[in-house]
Structures are given as C-alpha cells and as structure tokens.
C-alpha cells in the first residue's frame, strides 16, 4: 500500500501540484473574499490534472502489473487524494490565520476564515470524495463524469452553506459574529467537519474498492 502511495507521489503527480497549494492558497489573503473558492481550486484544477496524468501514463495497467491487491490499489489512491486535500486545506488554514491578523477590523459579508469555516470546508471535500471516488471506480479510468458530478455536489453544498450563512442571523452569528471568538464552539465545528470528512471518505473507499473489483483491466 505504501509503495503505491509512494509511486503516485514520486511518479504520478507532477511536483508542481505539490507546490501549487502553497502559491494558490495565498488567495486567502484577499480581504473578505468568498473563501470557499480557495479549497475549490483543488477540485477544479489539481484533481482533473492529476487524474488526466494517470490516464496518459497508463498508470492503471502499470499498477495492475505490480504484486498488489485491487483493494490496496484503491486504498492507496484514496490516501493520495486525502494527502492532497489535507495539503490544500492546511496551507489554506495557515494563510487564513494571517488574514485574520492582517485585517482585524474587517466586516465579513461571506464566511470569515475561522475554524468553524474550515469545518465546513472539510464537509465540502467529504461530499466531493463521496461522489467522485465511487463514480470513478466504475471504470477506474474515465474521470470526466465523476469529476463533473463531484464538483457540482461540492459547489452546491458550498453555495447553500454560504447562502444560509448570509440569510440566517443565527448561523451568521456562529461563523462571523460573537460565536467566532468562542474557541470551544469553533473547535467543535472543525472537529465535526473532520469527522464527517473521515466517515464519508471511508464510505467512498469501500464503495470504490467494491466496484473496482469488477473492473477488467485492459
């Protein structure tokens, strides 16, 4: 399994995509922006490029020739997706801390980058994984449809969450108002988000692995 993760990081993924979050997430420094857009670049740019790369390099056949189980192939690929997602979110969170310090008196119309907001971002990626991974492993090479469906689902969630955040005074208060200074509340929102992320990704892996067992490698 670790060998497969190593293979993806060393061979499969262009190193530029490992540096990409460091540069791209500087977008977090834009004051008062719709910060949901920042982690969404992962879904829009990084994922399609990485998966296009795998297909162009004939990775599926290469991997199938190695002495590994089909289950491990899926497990490793899901792990790689999670590694990339964490890389994006963690760097974005670090930039977010700077944003909060740089503009202390800003009035946020959209969500401010507090921990509660990052909890929502974890949920967004959880939904993304839950849609993408099972759809992709129907064939293990066609990623266009899975990509469209998963991006749409993630964007719908982000859109609705943001809309509720603006419309509902209570939600607004939790994420941007007085609740934002309440560390325990914020931390619990983040933890809840991470828990959903873990649960959805595990479900996605299980469905994906089950489907991949039926795939014929040609």
């Amino acid at each position: 399994m670790y060998n497969l993760v190593w293979k993806d990081l060393k061979l499969g993924i262009n190193p530029a995509f490992l540096l990409f979050p460091l540069v791209l997430n500087a977008l977090m420094l834009i004051p008062g922006w719709i910060y949901f857009i920042v982690p969404m670049y992962f879904c829009w740019i990084t994922m399609p490029n990485i998966f296009g790369g795998f297909r162009a390099q004939n990775d599926l056949m290469f991997t199938a020739m190695m002495p590994v189980t089909k289950k491990d192939i899926v497990k490793a690929r899901v792990s790689v997706i999670v590694i990339m997602e964490l890389l994006h979110l963690v760097t974005a969170m670090i930039y977010g801390i700077f944003t909060l310090r740089l503009y202390p008196n800003l009035t946020y119309y959209f969500f401010a980058p507090h921990m509660g907001f990052w909890g929502l971002c974890f949920v967004m990626l959880a939904i993304y994984n839950l849609v993408f991974i099972p759809l992709f492993y129907k064939t293990a090479y066609k990623f266009g449809g899975a990509m469209c469906a998963s991006i749409t689902a993630a964007m719908l969630f982000a859109g609705v969450a943001q809309w509720v955040g603006i419309q509902s005074p209570r939600v607004n208060d939790i994420f941007n108002g007085s609740g934002a200074d309440h560390t325990a509340l914020q931390l619990s929102l983040l933890i809840a988000g991470i828990a959903i992320f873990i649960a959805f990704t595990l479900i996605a892996y299980r469905i994906g692995a089950k489907r991949f067992l039926k795939v014929e490698i040609l």
Binding site: K7, G12, Q57, D59, M65, M66, P67, E216
Partner: protein
C-alpha cells in the same frame, strides 16, 4: 512441475469468446503462443494474470491457483506487454526506484548486471529507448525480481531482425538451467521456429493445438497438385488456395493418404496459421 496449467478457460465478450482454452507449459521451457490478431492471445494472457474475470475454468501458475494466490504469484512472474509504455517521460532510474520496492526478492546486483548486458543507460527516459530496448528493460526488471515465469506479449513485434535474433538468444539462455519458463505470444512465427520448444495455436478464441514444436508442424501436411486432383481431397482439407498451377491446401497428417500422387510437404508455422485463418473466412 508445470509452470502454467490452464484448464477449460471460458470468457465471453459481446463479439468474442474464449472457448475451453486449455494448455500446459512444463517448467524450464519456452512456449510460443501464436494466433492471428484478435484470436485471443492477449485475452488469454490477461486472464492468466487475473486482470480480467474469467467466466469459468482454472489457471494455475507454478502449481498455485492464480485467483487465490495472486499477490504471491505476481512476485514470481515477470511481464512485458509489447514494449514498456508507462511513465515514458520518466528516467529509467526513477522508475526502477519505484518498482523495486514492490518486490521482496529484488536483487540490485542482478539488475545492474542486466543493465550492463543490455546496454541500458539508467539516465535515459523510457521515451528515448528503442522498442527493443524497452523489451530488454522489462526483461531486466523481471529477472531482477527473480521471476520464475516470464510472460511476454508480442515482445518481438516491431523489432528489426538483428534485435529480434538478439532477444531470442537471450530467451534461450534464460531457460538453460531449467528454472525459468517463458510464454511468449507473437504473430512472427519465424521467431518461434528459432527458439520455441512448444507451440500453442489459438484461433478465434479456441486452442487448435498445443504440443511440442516439431510434433505440431508434423501434424499437418501442405499439399499441392492440379485443380483436377483437388476434388479427391477437398473434403479433408482445412482450407486451400487456387492458383494458376493448381492448388495448395493444408490437411491434417492423419487425414492424408500418402498413396495419392499429391506433393506433400511439412508446412511452416506461418502456413498453418494462414490456412486456418482462411478456413474461418470461408464460413463467414
């Protein structure tokens, strides 16, 4: 011991079917797997490697069932599918560094000795290798992880005669001590005449014959005679061609009556393949 033991393999596709494919390869020998394009060679090979799901039948490698011992067996199988068409923009060195981690019995010394022998430069990218070099790279990988069975899908297609001859010599050396067995599929039958011990012939998803090479060729006769003589043997012929001198046709040796004054010769593998393909056309 049998290196490969395939019994009653069946696999149905919408437009193609493998029917009751069975053949065995004794350890330490080279088997040529021949058949026209689309006859089912690659499908058979993929099912040996458990890459596709077979409908029924059993595949045993080195005495073990592939479906049950896939991982263990893949440590002992080396393959080359055509060339090496993966991560072609990466350097050989980078690729090997990744690949060797998968194999428990990887031997660095063996690997380097094969690189030297095959004149492979580790710092070259896969895309910079010629087709022959790619096959040699696959072979170097297979032999460095101690493969007991080497499966090659059309390794010699697209190679020039010198490179082909070179590869065939290597194959023969590999099986010398009786530890390594080779199955290689090809439609370049002259390669097999040079180096194979056994021949398995597949046509339209069915195994026509699987036997020792000379036995296989001796099982058929290539007849030639005038058009008027054709009628005497027409019913027994597998197929035939008519030309301005008369006809030539392929017949099973057991169906041939030597008392007729037809000219009979032992056919080459290529001729056997061609006449079988022609038989199919006749039914279409």
């Amino acid at each position: 011991m049998l290196a490969i033991d395939i019994r009653n393999l069946n696999k149905k596709y919408p437009n193609f079917q493998l029917r009751d494919v069975s053949f065995q390869l004794e350890k330490g020998y080279i088997m040529g797997f021949i058949g026209a394009n689309g006859a089912g060679k690659t499908t058979t090979i993929r099912s040996i490697l458990n890459m596709i799901h077979i409908d029924s039948g059993e595949v045993r490698i080195l005495g073990k069932n592939v479906a049950e011992h896939e991982i263990e067996l893949k440590q002992e199988i080396g393959y080359a599918f055509g060339g090496f068409e993966f991560y072609t923009r990466s350097k050989i060195k980078t690729l090997t560094d990744v690949i060797k981690k998968f194999y428990a019995n990887w031997n660095e010394e063996t690997y380097h000795s094969y690189l030297r022998r095959f004149k492979l430069d580790e710092n070259k990218k896969v895309a910079e290798l010629s087709t022959g070099m790619k096959v040699k790279y696959s072979l170097a990988l297979a032999l460095s992880h101690g493969a007991k069975l080497v499966i090659l899908d059309e390794p010699t297609s697209g190679l020039d005669p010198v490179a082909r001859d070179d590869l065939l010599d290597i194959f023969q050396e590999l099986v010398l001590d009786g530890e390594i067995s080779i199955l290689f599929s090809t439609h370049i039958t002259s390669d097999l005449e040079k180096c194979a011990d056994y021949i398995t012939f597949i046509d339209n998803g069915q195994i026509i014959a699987s036997s020792e090479k000379h036995e296989f060729m001796e099982a058929y006769r290539l007849l030639s005679g005038s058009e008027s003589q054709l009628n005497q043997v027409k019913a027994q012929l597998i197929s035939y061609k008519i030309n301005s001198f008369g006809f030539t046709g392929l017949i099973r040796a057991k169906d041939f009556d030597p008392s007729t004054n037809l000219k009979a010769a032992t056919p080459s593998l290529e001729e056997i393949m061609i006449y079988f393909a022609k038989k199919e056309d006749a039914y279409v």
